[in-house]
Subunit: 578 residues, 2 copies
């Protein structure tokens, strides 16, 4: 440690919002180099490389083959798949000296697809799984939480190529199993949740979420084992109700009821026995969709009044279109602000504005909703009798206690951070880039693909985030920068002599040792640094040496053992090797 | 090989100019992904990682500490050192979504300097040597020769930080020794040449050049061991001549002598006994310097008429200014095209145009040169008597047979490619970025730095370029993608069974084996692939198996041995481990 490039900090850096960032910065593992860009210092780089090694070993073990692409990529392939545009501001774009367009790769679907197309031409060549561990770039609007959301980060991304859907299922299952091994080895808590695909298009998709209160993703889980990210939750659809015999719709004066709350109050005044709640009202929310080609379209979403639109769920549904607030009531006189009703909406309505409803709006369901006149609402408006819609959309928020779609009980909501993502792309990219192979009958067939990612730098943050205490980091053995932190204290030359010998023995036995040989640093500072840096085993050679003992301490449990000097090396080896 | 992601090509790819590129592409080691950007396929990535491992091991062994910076860097530090501008078109620049300027790092002097400034503050912290193995970007005007000159490539760059010049010398020497070990282990032929610093500023500098006819750098060497790149060659300066008693200058009519050749002919007609050669004439070459701030300045270089200006030597001298052809004679009537003479040049001349001379233009030397009138030249114009100059410049070409500056004999010229560069930066960056530490007396002193680079991806190309034959690649053991290429031929199930067992034994003994298990590929194609791919040891299990033998072949020497099956594993192990 007298020569290690390290400076531990007593205070938290001002820009560190989350514990992992604070501790990694204080422990001299990382330093901020740019907005959303971090430098790995020697200890941090060791952790990074350990995580990388675990990922590589498990990818190799599943038969995936490692390649390595440039990060600076030409525009054309991304143009072919539409992602040059779809990525919007998140893509770093640049020009070379000749004015040609380039991008910094956010993921490499296009490039892998073209590579396989370049090399392979027959069903006999498949399946193949390729991967790389590589630097990725995304121009995040708000880089945050240290390594969790940077603009330059490292990912393992892999891609599977199969002829058949069953083949894709197998490649997907192999990745799922490999990811479980990776995260188990890293000691990271995780939940595998069903996921929407977002901008990627495609079908089956799961995320490995690390549950943490600082996570940006909300997910749900049920007592029976259902888990999904909030974008993927499917609403349990109530049964339709026969239309026969339902009461007629009737319009009522409901002055000053622009909100659901005021409306429910007035409704219960008008009909004291009805016991109306917000769930009895139909709220019609207008948004503007901005399509990738720049065209703008108003969209109305009808959902029960006890729920808000969940922006993430909505965005996942309408992607690649983006959602903006709707403000242009002047241009749409059919939309009476605060009193919009479905009668004028949809392909059949006079406004012609697209109208999508929540799955709970089933035929026969009765609603209190706007009468398209200021100060008036309509009651007992029956879905499928009095109004129609253009489609169903999963855009309403999920509330705790909602039933799991598989009947496994009420949902609870939690937050997590995405550590891995496995995803059946299907044939979207292969079609866009014309990746076909000859099948057994000599016929050209389009290849089906999977895309799979693990955040390598993010995993370091997640481990730090989940494994620390008030004193500092607590690295699991698999990723710790060193097996042993050996602290020599005091001024006695014999202490340093013995410590150096012990360090030599441990290194000779194959361990990595961080040896605190600093001559003029107080024991208190050395112990504090040892706690902060977080090696799994801390060995102290100090005053005890005179009585023939050294101390071996387990960083995670805090357990201390005094060991006779003659058995010190053996005891440390036993502690490290379990 | 039946599942390896590999396709060998029979024909050279159209865009491959040099043998290494041709063979690496044909052997399925790399694929072009973008102009100047390459994808490493599985076998190529193994070679890359082996080279990287060797570099890392030797850097660690010399006590350097590994860190890792982002490639996407903010403008400000590069602005502070002037390199944001000086790099010109070679720098990839881009803006983030907020319009902030970024660059893709070509080297990281600034960032390392700032990092040390961030962590360290005392002479006690130094020396320290930091390194990274990282992706670099340069927007080359003409990416060429495959991996030799790409726009995205991998470098090991390291930086030393010392308080004293003696400390810098020691850090420099340690790097030099480590580089020798690296290139020796990689099996790469190299010459260590004195080098100019180019755009980097600073003092002592050497390059590790790999001699090859496709190299872009010209270097010189002498029988006595002097070696330098052509930019660094110092001219042997003749002794000055006393001015007393030299003949008077005289102007002669020399019609139609715009070139040195025509001038020498006319001079010898005028003075048949003089025996004039081109070396007796003084050629005054005008160029335009474009300074980093955009200002343009004419510059005249006076040099003996038997030599051309060497553009690279000139550029190295005037950097960071750039050189452009001079065309604007109209604006400078003192410059008579084809008949420029030094009498009007320099601070003392009426033109005021800056005038630098070759070191051979010593006081007392006599010259035939332009008389500043069309069709007339002046003879016996004596340097230091009849004209003066503003300085000396090493811009003349070096010719074979020129004397080495250290007296070690006549120079020969050769071509090479730069594999490594070690360089004493001195205090330039530390001053620009204010990196100071407290010395023993509590006084702030500016740190002195060294900068050191090895081209990791380029080393792969150089190994391939120097180690191949007409059949394919011939990898040295240290970097080969596998120790053994095991070829099973024919259709006999016993052959494949035995080969598989042998492969298992070899892998069990710690070797890596590329096993050609392809069932329907002819022996001829398999042998051709084995030669092309170039593993150091090729083992063939085929018809010989019936007689109880397998063949072990050394790819480099071509030596074949038949080995009894029972001794096959032992024989291969012996071949691999020497």
């Amino acid at each position: 440690m007298s020569s290690l490039f390290l400076r531990t900090l007593r205070d938290d850096p001002a820009d560190a919002e989350v514990p992992s960032h604070r501790l990694l910065a204080r422990g001299g593992y990382i330093r901020r180099a740019a907005p959303g860009g971090f430098t790995w210092l020697p200890l941090g780089w060791r952790v990074f490389r350990n995580v990388e090694r675990v990922v590589r070993e498990e990818m190799d073990a599943m038969g995936a083959q490692e390649v390595h692409f440039p990060a600076l990529l030409p525009r054309e392939p991304y143009e072919a798949t539409g992602r040059w545009t779809e990525y919007g501001d998140n893509l770093f774009r640049l020009k070379d000296r000749r004015g040609n367009d380039f991008l910094l790769g956010p993921t490499h679907e296009e490039m892998f697809t073209l590579l396989v197309k370049d090399l392979y031409g027959s069903y006999k060549d498949l399946p193949v799984v390729l991967y790389q561990i590589q630097t990725k770039y995304r121009d995040e609007a708000r880089p945050r939480a240290g390594l969790f959301r940077g603009r330059e980060f490292t990912m393992k991304d892999s891609y599977s190529f199969d002829v058949t859907d069953a083949g894709l299922d197998a490649s997907y299952a192999a990745h799922r199993a490999a990811y479980i091994k990776v995260f188990d080895r890293l000691g990271l808590d995780y939940v595998i949740v069903s996921a929407m695909s977002g901008a990627m298009g495609g079908s089956k998709s799961e995320e490995f979420l690390h549950p943490t209160s600082i996570g940006e993703d909300t997910f749900v889980r049920s007592p029976g084992g259902y888990a999904a990210n909030v974008e993927a939750v499917r609403t349990v659809v109530p049964e339709s109700i026969p239309l026969d015999g339902l009461p007629e719709a009737h319009v009522e004066d409901t002055p000053d009821t622009p909100t659901i709350e005021t409306l429910v109050a007035v409704a219960n005044e008008l009909f004291p026995d009805a016991g109306y709640t917000a769930a009895a009202t139909l709220k019609n929310v207008v948004v503007t969709l901005v399509h990738p080609d720049g065209t703008r379209e108003p969209l109305v979403i009808g959902l029960p009044g006890d729920r808000e639109v969940d922006t993430k769920r909505l965005e996942a549904q309408v992607s690649p279109a983006e959602v903006e607030p709707f403000t242009d009531f002047a241009a749409h006189p059919d939309l009476v602000k605060g009193y919009i009703g479905p009668q004028v909406l949809g392909a059949d309505g006079k406004s012609g504005i697209r109208f999508l409803v929540d799955p709970r709006v089933v035929p026969g369901s009765r609603w209190i909703t706007g009468a398209n006149e200021a100060g008036r609402h309509v009651f007992d408006l029956v879905a499928g009798r009095d109004f129609s819609w253009d489609g169903v959309i999963e855009a309403a928020e999920v509330l705790p206690g909602d039933p799991a779609p598989d009947g496994s009980g009420p949902l609870e909501l939690a937050r997590g951070v995405e550590m891995g993502h496995i995803f059946q792309l299907g044939r979207k990219y292969a079609e866009a880039l014309d990746l076909k192979v000859l099948d057994e009958n000599g016929k050209l067939v389009t290849v089906t693909m999977g895309s799979y990612g693990i955040g390598v730098s993010r995993a370091v943050a997640a481990i730090a985030e989940s494994m620390h205490d008030e004193l500092g980091l607590v690295w699991p053995r698999e990723v710790a920068p060193a097996d042993v932190h050996l602290v020599a204290t005091g001024k006695d030359a014999a202490v340093f002599e013995f410590a150096e010998t012990l360090a030599g023995e441990l290194v000779g036995a194959g361990l990595t040792v961080l040896y605190d040989d600093r001559p003029k640093v107080s024991p208190g500072v050395k112990f504090k640094d040892a706690e902060l840096l977080g090696m799994p085993t801390i060995v102290t050679v100090g005053r005890g040496l005179a009585e023939g003992v050294v101390e071996v301490r387990d960083r995670a449990t805090g357990e201390r053992t005094e060991v006779p000097v003659g058995e010190a090396a053996a005891a440390v080896l036993a502690a490290v090797r379990g």
